[in-house]
Symmetry: C2
Amino acid sequence: LLFDLSVSQSSAARIDRLQRQAASGPDVICLGGGLPDPRFFPKRDLGDAFFRALHRPSDALQYGWPEGELELRDWVAARLRLMGADLDPEHVVITNGAQQAISLTTRALLSPGQTVGMMDESYPGAIEAFRSAGLQLVPWERSASAYYLMPAVGNPGGRRMAPDERAEILRRLEREGPLVIEDDAYAESTFVGRREMPLVVLAPERVIHVGTLSKVLCPGLRVGWIATRHPALARILAEKQQADLQAPSLTQRIVAEYLKGPRFDRHIARVRRGYERKAKALLQAVREALPEFRVTVPHGGFSLWLEHRGPHGLFDDLSLLRAAIRRGVSFDPGRTFRIRDSKQLALRLCYGSVPLDELERGAARLAEALEDVRGATSARLTLAPKGREAP
Amino acid sequence: LLFDLSVSQSSAARIDRLQRQAASGPDVICLGGGLPDPRFFPKRDLGDAFFRALHRPSDALQYGWPEGELELRDWVAARLRLMGADLDPEHVVITNGAQQAISLTTRALLSPGQTVGMMDESYPGAIEAFRSAGLQLVPWERSASAYYLMPAVGNPGGRRMAPDERAEILRRLEREGPLVIEDDAYAESTFVGRREMPLVVLAPERVIHVGTLSKVLCPGLRVGWIATRHPALARILAEKQQADLQAPSLTQRIVAEYLKGPRFDRHIARVRRGYERKAKALLQAVREALPEFRVTVPHGGFSLWLEHRGPHGLFDDLSLLRAAIRRGVSFDPGRTFRIRDSKQLALRLCYGSVPLDELERGAARLAEALEDVRGATSARLTLAPKGREAP
């Protein structure tokens, strides 16, 4: 088989090996991986917050309750109330990042054989969690038992749900009452304009809202959450307790201390500008160096989604990734984001952690790699008949 | 039904409510909950470690790999090698505490309907993880597909596996090759003498070794691990990635920095002496104030296991817990630790977080609560016939 575009275990393992190889190469520009920019992490403020957390009588080093620290749940609920949500701290469970929020919700609320409607390209961690739970992934346009959506800022590509898509989901929420998992992981990174109301504001008892500080603060703390009035929140909490008792008291207390006062919103404003500048630079570089790809214009997040204009099927994303690493650049193969097979070559390019002045060079190296693969492919196509003639 | 000794969801909810009530009562001596002593947490050293972690180039605030930080896995493997285990960092996965290690192992390696052999009383988090995975819990003396054991220091009661029990498990490992989950959560808290070799030393490919720093360092970091040469470690790692991507980089880096140098072993020596002193004080207080209970002599850990000598069935552990909280003391009801129903009243008393000089008062209050319940029960038994005579 020349092209196996489904993400089998072995292809996942190959991708993992390649990404690790790229990450350990000192001269590789990592446009893969989806990391935020460590230059934006507020080290000093988090250091101060750590010391306040350590010396408070409520012990940051002791066990806590499975639902998480009250102050932090209070902050999450208040922030969603600012956008109109009717939520209180008792509607919030703190998780180890958004991934755990998705995984706990899946275990607590979905059963094998049910359908989950999703965008054609979506977050691989959710795709894998749903698949391994025996769920059937379908394009979100079809009616489904549940939907997994990133309405504010999508991954990959940073796309916002279009007004008509949003209206359609709201119509289904009203008429069919499905479960909706609203993954707002990147919502706070929205570049411009007012963001739309989260879906949980409109249907708090049907929407499981997922949030995290991994994208705009830092991922190393693994602080995420679920916020909902869905009656099954108690089941989700029971799953959390069984999974790992609780999120770390220390990281929760650090974040709770950090979030006091106005510095978080100032920080977010800085971070948004920083990512927007990088998004524009990479977008321009891609348009110039890789004109044969269609590229999304992101509303936020860390990444662009590139789809090859065709012809399709000459080589696949893994061949290109291998060539790219040889040229000193990496990316995320499109197949990991897809809910169904496609021969259209696609890739995710992340500008998150790459310095602004390396983005253009990254795109140029990728163009070279593309030439390498194209050259090798046409050489193979040319040579193959000759090969057959040989004894 | 007067006595429902199985831990149903509703009884779990009642216990949870009572424990929260006890924890929020300012004058309640909490002999329940199983917390370590916050006076033993090395705050200053952890603060230093935090600053070293924050300012190292390997970013403690960034994403990491799902298996965890290499330095920390290196430390775990080296510590087990000191006891004779043939393990390297690639045989270690860092988890969010021991609970996640148990839960991931269950999901990766066990299937509904299989049997798990356990001690009659065991860690409730493991019991619940196994039950909700559809496993059948059987006394470890019976042959089973897998075993869950705490060979060094048991929970509840801090009991060490007896030499003949150990020999029997080793015999089965050799002849039948079952999976063994070795939960060594409390092993480092062993009070006296040399500890036995962990089972993973003897059968590294059949034993999933579970460890944590929650008991002797502090639980608020949630740093635990799995160490094994079992070929399914890759499946466990895949479960970890799907569950929450990775343990927090920050807490892992803090611990890795803290563990450099000899201070951890000095710390453990201090902590062991502290808990041993409290164990002896509570043991003596229980023997004096509550002579109608049989009590285990612990080899380590934070708790005693008390079983009533009988007659059984007059009142249950929840009635006693309610009366105890009114008297200003709490404990953990025995039912949550049992793998099968029993009418024998039992309780776990934790000396972990209670100050030394409050232990005697705690036992005295428990004795008062016992009198209250006994009085109420005999009053009810005496009054009941009269009640029936009334119109």
